[in-house]
Amino acid sequence: MASDMTVSTKPKRERGGFIRVKMLAREPFLLGLIVLVFLSLFLFAVLPIYQVIKVTVVGDAGADLSKIGEVLQGHFLHVMWNSIQLGLLSAVLSTVVGFVFAFAIARTDIRGKRLFHLIALLPIISPPFVLALSTILLFGRNGIITHGLLGLEDADVYGLGSLVFIQTMAFFPLAYLNLRGVLESINPSVEDASLNLGASRWQVFRTVTLPLAVPGIFSSLLIVFIKSIEDFGNPMVLAGDYSTLAVQAYLEITGMYDLRSGSFMAVAILLPSITAFLIQKHWLSKKSYVTVTGKPTQSSVRMGEKRMVYPLFAFCALVTSVVLLFYGTVAAGAFIKLWGINFTFTLEHFSYIFTLGFDSILNSTLLAAASTPLTAILGMAIAWLVVRESFIGKKVMELSSILTFAVPGTVVGIGYVLAFNKPPLLLTGTALILIAAFTFRNMSVGIEAGTNSLRQIDASIEEASKNLGASSFVTFWRISLPLMRSALFSGLVYSFVRSMTSISAVIFLVSANWNLLTVSILSQVEASRLGAASAYCVLLIAMILFAIGLLQFLVNQLQPKNRRRA
């Protein structure tokens, strides 16, 4: 079975395909949902990317592959390898850090959990360029730490090392959110059973917890890998002479005015991303990770031994303080006159952003709020369809759902303009195009988190609901969705935060009526007004933290009433 991919992709508990297809016809909701998801994916994920590919391979005089040859002759392969190297390093490091965080919070009685959790969410809020600039302010040649504290004369902050560092900090929260959902949905009684049978804590971890967390680990690696090679802001500021594909593609387009070569480079990023995606799916499809079976469970005793908790605490505290250092730098920058030069306290940056920049703040919030529920629901629905239902074109659905996530934002933006700039799909200049871009670019994280938690939930729970006469819709809404709470939460948070902070995709989509906060931040950074940029960031972070709190509250409402009271 393992050797045959088409067979092995089907979850174990599934019945014959024919019967399922026949059942589909009897379930208008299910059929409708599948059609709707396909339609929207085609329109907002496949079509824009197709348009960009078309630009690359079709010249003024028909089909023409000369551009590709031209690009391949240059440093393309070298730059691609740079990107892959960066992606692998960041993915492994982020996943390790994320796992330790998730484990400490989900499985032990560590102190300061709430704080760790909150701080681990902070780096998702990475406003464009500002964190990378903080790196220079802290660790550059005149950096507060490298020069001021350590007295180094010639620190070089640019290059692969810094990039891996800053990306690990920026992306470990993704791994954390994802893995925490997975660890929390592993039924603790499995671990308890192992403990009762005489296994040591380490043995339990190695033979039970870790193997069960494999789907989460793999999808974290995948998500961070894709995000890392697609990242634009950090390499733009910190890469120095280390070129990556996403930046190179952007520069080819805006510096050399060569849309075709640049698009090709950017679309080429799909290659390693989709390879990684396929490897992940292939591995995961072979095993069952079901631990939530609907049979009664008791909650386990959390780990409290000092020798476990102390190192974990130290690690989390270290990571937390690094994150705080960076965000503290940004916060401090918002209240002082000029970084590194004049440390007088001032509120002038805030008075500036409230008088001139208020419109964009309002727009950003409104659009992010509009796209967040759409993203989360769509993400959960796709995860559910992919794991639980069987239908023709499932693979296609999965693949197309990561397209806009894996391609650099610049190209998504260009693709959207190309696809939606003529009737009947004239969306440019509207809020709708921004909402669509946010929704389809951010939903992958929700899908991954949702898929992982569903893998651990026995389908028999849902089958029981259906046998009792509930429709697919009611089953999804009342049984599956509440069980996917944690995944839903990560999906919502990620989507909202990314919508508020994304820049590369929206730069081509913002319009005079719908200008966004991040574009204002970029403008401030360009003009060397780091104070105003920092002030925008502080405001952004405050608003996002408030929103996360609100989302947490709303998601908790999904918890069944009796359990919430308990």
Partner: protein, 349 residues
């Protein structure tokens, strides 16, 4: 539970309707002259707001803007060819405008007072009109000079002196228009062979090639490098923020950028008249005086306009005889040559 589902679905629908409503409401009515104007601008946010406010006071026309770098604007115009969202492109180097005109993205229009603008800065083909000029200069970190006991470089040749080794930063000519202006200026001034020999030597002193044209000035301000090569206004801006920067110009001669404004082809029809009024206004004395009034450091094009305090006018600098059109036409080959000959195998690390 039932009720909860209904509320959630209701909320979702409300969101959708709300956004759809917002979407449709801003499609302008074609043909009818309106009171608004949409502009793509490369000026930073805080700089452009006083400009459009001055225009509104004079004409009553409401200007909305989207801030994009010049390269980004060009891409956006290419992608939006069927239905451009803006009528005017305001600010950004003229070579990008030239590229856009070549691709048929601009409509020829010259301001009423075009005769007041010096010929050397205007577009011979009549697509764009100049709004400001600025010369290439060296951004030198004063504290670094003091610490090392050096004096600021005054010429291109000075940069090759051993004391500046590993302390020069410029952008990569393939990534930034500013750096390409450096490359093209040197080639036009010294001849291709000598210029590349010079750049090879300079490469040994180069600390980093940045991606953005204004980054070298910022890096010099932060002390990341001793010397950065940027446009004067990109150096004077961080200087005015308080960074310890000194601005010098190479005495052999230097290149310059012409900031431009142009009419976008097939822009919103109801804005056409306003767009023309706007372009007329940019050549007027009132708007040319704004650089001095708002303390930005761009040099006005009109000889009779006020010069910003602290900015250095062109008559005090030795300008190279810079041909922007020639530079635009040889871009690909010069950048390619730079990649292979100057950066060589170490070019892309």
């Amino acid at each position: 539970m039932r009720r909860k589902i209904k509320t959630w679905v209701g909320m979702l629908l409300a969101c959708l309707l709300l956004t759809a409503g917002c979407g449709s409401s801003n499609a302008g009515q074609a043909g009818k002259p309106s009171n608004r104007l949409t502009v793509y601008t490369a000026f930073p946010e805080q700089e452009v707001i006083p400009y459009i406010e001055a225009f509104r006071k004079e004409t009553g026309i409401d200007v909305k803007f989207v801030r994009l770098s010049a390269g980004e604007t060009l891409v956006r115009l290419q992608a939006e060819k069927n239905a451009p969202q803006a009528s005017v492109w305001y600010g950004g180097p003229s070579d990008t405008f030239h590229a856009a005109a070549q691709e048929g993205l601009l409509e020829k229009y010259q301001p009423k007072e075009a005769a007041q603008l010096p010929k050397r800065f205007t577009d011979p083909q009549g697509y764009w009109s100049p709004v400001y000029v600025g010369a290439l200069g060296f951004a030198v970190n004063e504290e670094w000079l003091k610490k090392k006991g050096l004096s600021a470089p005054e010429s291109w040749d000075d940069l090759l002196k051993p004391e500046y080794a590993d302390n020069v930063v410029m952008a990569h000519p393939g990534a930034s228009g500013t750096a390409y202006t450096v490359l093209a200026t040197l080639v036009q001034m010294m001849g291709e062979e000598k210029a590349f020999a010079y750049l090879k030597k300079l490469d040994a002193h180069m600390r980093q090639y940045t991606k953005s044209g204004s980054a070298p000035a910022k890096q010099a301000g932060l002390g990341e490098t001793g010397v950065g090569i940027s446009f004067a206004h990109d150096i004077l801006a961080p200087k005015s923020e308080g960074y310890p920067l000194l601005l010098t110009f190479p005495k052999e001669g230097t290149g310059y950028e012409i900031g431009a404004v142009a009419l976008i082809k097939n822009g919103p029809a109801d804005e056409l008249e306003n767009a023309k009024k706007f372009i007329d206004w940019t050549a007027g004395l009132e708007s040319q005086n704004l650089y001095a009034k708002t303390k930005t450091f761009r040099l006005p094009v009109r000889p009779d306009a006020e010069v910003p305090e602290g900015a250095v006018t062109f008559d005090k600098i030795k300008l190279a005889d810079y041909d922007a059109v020639w530079a635009g036409e040889h871009r690909k080959e010069l950048v390619k040559k730079f990649e292979t000959e100057v950066r060589g195998q170490s070019g892309v690390k």
